[in-house]
Amino acid sequence: MKFLENLVENLEPKFEKGGKLEKWFPVFDAFATFLYVPSHTTHNGVHVRDAVDLKRTMNTVVQALIPCLLFGIWNTGYQHYRVSGEDALHAATFLDMILFGAIRVLPLVIVSYVAGLATEFAFCIVKKHTINEGFLVTGMLIPLCLPIDVPLWMVAVATVFSVVFAKEVFGGTGMNILNPALTVRAFLFFAYPTWMSGDKVWISEIPATADATAGVTQLGKWASTIDVKADVSKVNEIMESTFSTLDLFLGIIPGSVGETSVLVILIGAGLLLHTGIGSWKIMLSGLIGGLSMSAIFNVAGANPFMSVSPIDQVFAGGFMFGLVFMSTDPVSASQTEVGKIIYGFFIGIFAIMIRVFNPAYPEGIMLSILFMNVMAPLIDHYVIASNINQRLGRAKIHASH
């Protein structure tokens, strides 16, 4: 290990100002600080510092996503064998499923990291910034919120687009308005809709022999009741084929790679809440928002989709995944504590509203979070104004005495 330490120390002068490789300092710095916490010390102000830094923070979020990734890998394999027929499912071992899933999921992860980090590195070298850790989380979120068979080149294009136009043009980490991972998803959704929706994209390599409804997600099923709402028997048939609450909770169903299982998402949520890195205010108010909107629809009950129970609504689709991992992104969320409650609540409301009112966009959470990302500064503006007014009010009362 001493060897590595010496290497870092010996190389450093070459990358510093005036060194031969000065231009490449951000890259060197990224690798050196990945290996070692640098020897930088405090100078004035607070002389001791908390052990947490941005690397550790981002690393914790990545850790919280690992259960979703592992479950997604297995579920990809399982879903494939499930639609391949009874015999194939019986013949496949646990390892077969993992292997099948890994071969398809890991390339998504690698492409998202390579495309994203390359773009970030390029920007940092040109703009002479140090490389920030923000993309470590984004790079993991991207594959988990996509359908399994989306072509790798699309992922690369969308990731580059997102890093450049959603993040770097605004000033990089900490400055972006939209969540970069969701921007990737939205870009793909609108640019290549056939790869991002329908009943064929959620399971890898659906054989032609498979049941026509085998690859339909819960949201797809609910949405399809609207097209046939005149025919009561057809509606009933569809509603009977939907997954149970327990299925939705366990998540052994078709869907985007990491979003299906509420159980494993809750494990990640537990880590985020325990470490204090994910905001409980956003998660809780978002959940309440989603449940309330579903309950209001229940009362209205104009169609079968509206009558779905609130628990099923929030368990289905990407609602929980988006709420736990994407709405809580501190940069694009509301930044005041009161604002977080309002922001989360409306994410919940709009996510359910979009999916029920507009079945063309079954995944309401994506648009809902992006919309509230845009609204977050407005919410903060009013929270800040209220603090300022309280202070002015106090001064006036004081002056009048």
Binding site: G45, V48, D50, A51, V52, D53
Partner: protein, 502 residues
Amino acid sequence: MSIHVKLNKGANIKLVGVPNRITNVAPDSEFYALKPSDFHGVTPKLLLKDGARVEAGTPVFFDKQDERVVWSSPVSGEIEEVVRGDRRKILAIKIKSDNQFTAVDYGVTDLSSIESEELKKKLYTAGLWPFIKQRPFDVIANPSDQPKAIFVSSFDTAPLAPDYDYILEQKSADFKTGLKALAKLSKTGKVNLNLPILKDVSFNETEVFSYEDASGKSHSVNFHTANNSPVSSQGKTALNAVIKKYSTPSELFTKSDDVALNTFEGPHPVGNVGVQIHHINPINANEVVWTVNVQDVAIIGSFINSGKYTPKRTLALTGSEVKIPQYYEIRLGAELKTVLGGGLKDAEENPRFISGNVLTGVKIAENDYIGFYHNQITVIPEGDKMELFGWALPVQPEKLSFSRTLWSWLVPNKKYRLNTNLNGEERPFVVTGQYELLVPMNVLPVQLIKACMIQDIELLEGLGIYEVVPEDFALCEFSCSSKIPVQTILREALDLVKKECA
């Protein structure tokens, strides 16, 4: 009417090196120094030249912005040297002591008859005005102001802070006089003295305390032995009695005259006078509040009682690197080495000497002088070493984090030997919600700091810049994931607002 304020936000940082409650008189220093850098915003103009003879209480320099405010020599002797830095900036005025400690006699003050303007004049001519500071901006007060209140916090909750009840019980007469004098200067005719309900007492493992049992017999008990003895034993009874004794505020404070008492409870920064003012009598635009450190009240009192300026301070020598952490009585401006006689522990790392506490103190060299306002010296290890994968490992018993990303939350009472490593690199603001947990005031800390960064004065006024000083945000700087120098940013913004609005 006494107000009780309970605060939940904030955190106590527990460090190794709590001072034993023993006071040694530090050996006399060969040189004493006045360092203009201790007085924020002051431009010193010298009154005397190198080699000039001074008594304790002879004015040495004044402030260019307010010629009435002078600084006096703390000892008798002659001016050895005026140390200058870049562009002839005065770094220190070094005074060689003649070890006689003779002082200018300004005459004993009769507080019952003196007018407040006359009292002010007496204080600033003798060089005691720098002890009186003002909010907003945390600078030396303007003698022409009449403050809406004068606040004194009787306790300090910063890491390893000195126990003021212990210190001031030895100076009770001077303290009482000091309070009486300050009460004359306030519009309200009283001093707002803020007390804790119960202090958070901590002991050094080696501390020996005396304990009187039920029969009135006195025992010497060692903290370590008592703490590790069985619950029902006499050791525990003694310890509990001593904890009770030390955690109750002294009668010197609770039975003071000329004061309005208010009580507080909660974690640090509850002891910060700015936080207390915010909850008792918040500062609006165009209002001024004065604050005086509780030990400086006794220095003022001593001058009133004796007519002589012979400033002495009881200083806590603290920190993990100190062999015997304890209290020392020093004269203001003494050399650091006069209190380091007990030596430092052997350690691999170099020591960092801090005049003040680890949150707000100033880094000084071993041959430097103790800061004018500081009641504490902290010595901790430097952290100038690289650490392999230091950002990833979850179990690092020597590191502390307010977040639960490390396992330090499992041992809330552990005392740490923290070093000066930044534990990361500076980054843009990313994580939110951290600062809000640590500032027990109705301000929006992140938005306030961002307003400081963009220098938006109107927004700063709206967000409460007049109510905050850097020390109130020290915990934010400690816990910041992005390693943002919060106190420096706030200090610069305060200077800007002061300049623009003055």
